[in-house]
């Protein structure tokens, strides 16, 4: 009987350890199959808890961070009341959101209406499972990591389209149609930039991409390929902002025009899910940027022995999350600085600027590889 196995170091450890546990079971149940089933179950639970912890656990932190960053850009203090400097505020808000009444508007397609927020959550959760958080911390070590991410990332648009369409609201419909057009276009740029990374690093496995950037800061993808690496990083930044539907590319929500876009009609828990998906996408996209461009979990060594010794003592996970939160801060600064382009301008920006530049980037990357070999 085939039982899928979780291929990561923790999984190996569990597999070694499970036969000892199985020995306590009655004779009739012992055997190869039981061992692998139990090992898989334990591993799966560990993985699910880990992914949920990283994703759902980071959402309140991010909401708090977003409020504080936005407040300080706007010369305000942000939440200050609940807890030290308002740290418990987001938890209180989440509780409020959960206790609100859930209802759908008249004439809404109820099944799709409640299904949509669930679909939106799938994509970011799946990507989080592919990203190496540390030397041994990886849920699924997939060889086709990058293609899988490209494939899964487009899934979110389905939820948004369904949510807007089933709301029976013209504003929601317009928002979701805008979002559909936008995400499908920017998917191309997103994929092309990731292809550049694959080309230079020579692998589609995210662990191998990360390990290819080991060493000093100069080995990071962003600096490894002179100029092109930085350009690719900027392109990735823009494309992922558009993928996440974050300002300045939040034309799908466009509060000033469409009063909230696709989630206009949502309240309570379904709305919280859209909100959660937005912030989880922020984490996963930042993590992807860190993995592909900023050296993943590797410490930012600068080449001096004495300094590097200290830097290497810090575990990789901490470096990883430090980099991720720096990326998130960048996304937030951009969000609270720029104004929103119009729909047609957004599309022409993709097709007339992003796509040609990304094509040139691929050509440049090919030339770099040819020259360096």
């Amino acid at each position: 009987m085939y039982v899928p196995s979780v291929t990561n170091p923790i999984g190996d450890y569990v597999r070694e350890w499970v036969p000892q546990l199985v020995a306590y079971l009655p004779e009739s149940l012992q055997g190869e199959t039981t061992c692998s089933v139990i090992a898989f179950a334990i591993n799966a639970i560990i993985c699910i808890i880990a992914v949920c912890l990283v994703n759902i656990g980071s959402a309140p932190i991010l909401i708090y961070m977003e409020r504080k960053v936005c407040a300080h850009v706007q010369c305000r203090l942000g939440p200050m009341r609940l807890g030290w400097h308002g740290t418990i505020q987001t938890i209180a808000d989440v509780l409020k959101m959960l206790f609100k009444e859930v209802y759908s508007p008249q004439g809404a397609d109820k099944k799709l209406f409640y299904l949509a927020p669930l679909i939106v959550l799938i994509a970011p959760f799946m990507i989080a499972a592919l990203i190496p958080f540390g030397h041994n911390l990886l849920v699924a070590n997939v060889d086709m990591g990058i293609p899988l991410i490209i494939a899964v990332n487009g899934f979110g648009v389905l939820g948004i389209l369904l949510g807007g369409w089933s709301s029976n609201n013209k504003y929601s419909l317009m928002g979701s149609l805008r979002s559909g057009a936008q995400m499908i276009s920017y998917e191309i740029s997103f994929a092309l930039v990731l292809l550049f990374v694959v080309m230079v690093s020579g692998s589609t496995n995210l662990m191998e991409i990360t390990n290819g950037q080991a060493g000093t800061v100069a080995n990071w993808m962003i600096f490894k390929v002179p100029v092109l690496g930085f350009l690719a990083f900027i392109m990735f930044f823009i494309a992922s902002t558009a993928e996440m539907n974050r300002a300045p590319f939040d034309i799908a929500e466009a509060e000033q025009e469409l009063t909230g876009g696709y989630h206009t009609e949502y309240t309570g828990t379904p709305f919280a899910m859209f909100y959660l998906a937005e912030y989880i996408a922020l984490v996963t996209n930042s993590a992807l940027a860190v993995t592909c461009f900023l050296g993943g979990f590797h410490a930012p060594c600068i080449g001096f022995e004495s300094v590097d010794q200290i830097l290497l003592k810090v575990p990789g996970v901490i470096w990883f999350f430090a980099k991720v939160y720096f990326m998130i801060w960048c996304y937030m600064m951009v969000r609270w600085t720029f104004v929103r382009p119009r729909v047609d301008q957004l599309m022409s920006f993709e097709w007339k600027f992003m796509l040609p530049v990304n094509m040139l980037l691929l050509v440049g990357g090919a030339a770099y590889i040819a020259l360096s070999i």
């Binding site: 936005c70 850009v73 706007q74 010369c75 305000r76 013209k170 504003y171 317009m174 805008r178 300002a247 300045p248 939040d250 034309i251 466009a254 509060e255 000033q256 025009e257 469409l258 009063t259 609270w336 600085t337 720029f338 104004v339 929103r340 382009p341 119009r342 729909v343 047609d344 301008q345």
Partner: protein, 379 residues
């Protein structure tokens, strides 16, 4: 008329391959700046027709004025264009003064001009904030309101209220200015100078903001005149008309300032004209600080409460445009008829002309640059 019904004279073409539909923007919508309803006929994202509907906060201020004494009507002007309440006070008071035949002391004139210009700066800062906010940059909104708050602090110290000032009286003003008024205004101007530099750096050259506003919502010179536009909207279309210059009231003829005009009549021009006006107002304020008379009365000796029977009209340039007050005085201390010509009403009228063929996002930007205040439209 119910919200789901179409406005009269508003037909959705049900022809062969037309996919036009009707959408309500407002009365509760984040970017209609108040309780204004815009009925839109849309073809996808493109606007075919805009029909403004208002009256949601109509209070009958003009009719109420007929049962009030002349003085009692002054607080009612605060509640029309609440962003420039202090200038509205001036408008109605100037009309009264014509009917009362009284002069105004020099110091009172300076107080009037200085407070009006502060009000203009406050209103244009709100415009800056709303323009940025409607484009999607919430930070601009907070930036604009931050400096406006300082103006309102000054106004509160002088008049006793932040928004509903109720300060000017026939023949002068309610109070004299407090001692630290001049240093405070000076400090504010120095602060604003630096802040405006930051804000212009933040938004004026921003490529996305330029894309959103250049060539959007073009209002031709002829249309602007024909529809009765005034203020920055008119001047952005290339008409050099400013009541302060064309028909000077108070002491504006003694002050040296420029009337900024632009020629394209698009959203970016209206933005530029308003930003330039903030700088001109600062120039006027600096001149007033220099010339401000230390001694002298702030209000004329006689305090009449009645107007001589007749018809009186005064017009001033508020931040939004031409604000006219027409008073028909009979015997007694109450007006027979009092009418306000507000600047925002004609501006809403041109909306259809400017937005046809644009996207729904353009409508938002156009609304922001017209800068209407709904209580002043409805009165």
């Amino acid at each position: 008329m119910s919200m789901t019904q179409l406005p009269p004279g508003f037909k959705i073409t049900r022809e062969t391959d037309s996919e036009e539909f009707f959408i309500n923007m407002g009365p509760q919508h984040p970017s209609t700046h108040g309780a204004l309803r815009l009925a839109l006929r849309m073809d996808g994202e493109t606007i075919v027709e805009v029909v403004p509907h208002f009256g949601y906060i109509h209070r009958g201020l003009e009719k109420q004025g007929e049962s009030m004494t002349y003085l009692q009507y002054i607080p009612m002007t605060d509640r029309q264009d609440y962003l420039t309440a202090i200038q509205n006070n001036l408008g109605v008071v100037l009309a009264y003064e014509k009917g009362m035949n009284i002069g105004v002391p020099e110091k009172a004139e300076y107080i009037r001009v200085m407070l009006s210009e502060l009000g203009r700066i406050a209103s244009h800062l709100v415009f800056f904030g709303c323009f940025g906010g409607d484009l999607g940059g919430q930070t601009c909104l907070l930036f604009g309101f931050k400096e406006r708050e300082m103006v309102h602090d000054i106004l509160e110290e002088v008049t006793g209220s932040r928004l509903t000032t109720n300060f000017f009286r026939p023949g002068g003003s309610r109070f004299d200015v407090p001692e630290n008024f001049i240093p405070r205004v000076k400090a504010f101007l120095d602060h604003l100078e630096g802040a405006m530099k930051d804000y212009e750096r933040f938004l004026s050259k921003n490529v996305i903001a330029l894309e959103r506003s250049v060539g959007i919502g073009i209002l031709s010179k002829e249309d602007a005149i024909a529809f009765g536009c005034s203020g920055p909207v008119l001047r952005a279309s290339g008409v050099d008309f400013d009541v302060r210059r064309a028909n000077p009231y108070s002491i504006y003829d003694q002050l040296d300032f420029e009337v900024p005009i632009a020629h394209n009549g698009d959203c970016h021009d209206r933005y530029n004209v308003r930003i330039a006006e903030i700088h001109e107002s600062m120039k006027i304020l600096r001149q007033c600080i220099e010339k401000f008379p230390k001694e002298g009365p702030y209000r004329s000796k006689e305090k009449p409460v009645k107007l001589n029977p007749g018809r009186y009209y005064s017009e001033i340039e508020t931040a939004k445009g031409l604000y006219g007050t027409y008073v028909v005085a009979a015997s007694g201390d109450k007006p027979y008829r009092i009418h306000t010509r507000g600047p925002s009403f004609p501006h809403i009228g041109v909306l259809n002309k400017m937005c046809q063929g644009g996207k729904i996002s353009d409508l938002v930007v156009v609304m922001a640059t017209l800068d209407p205040v709904i209580p002043e439209i409805d009165r």
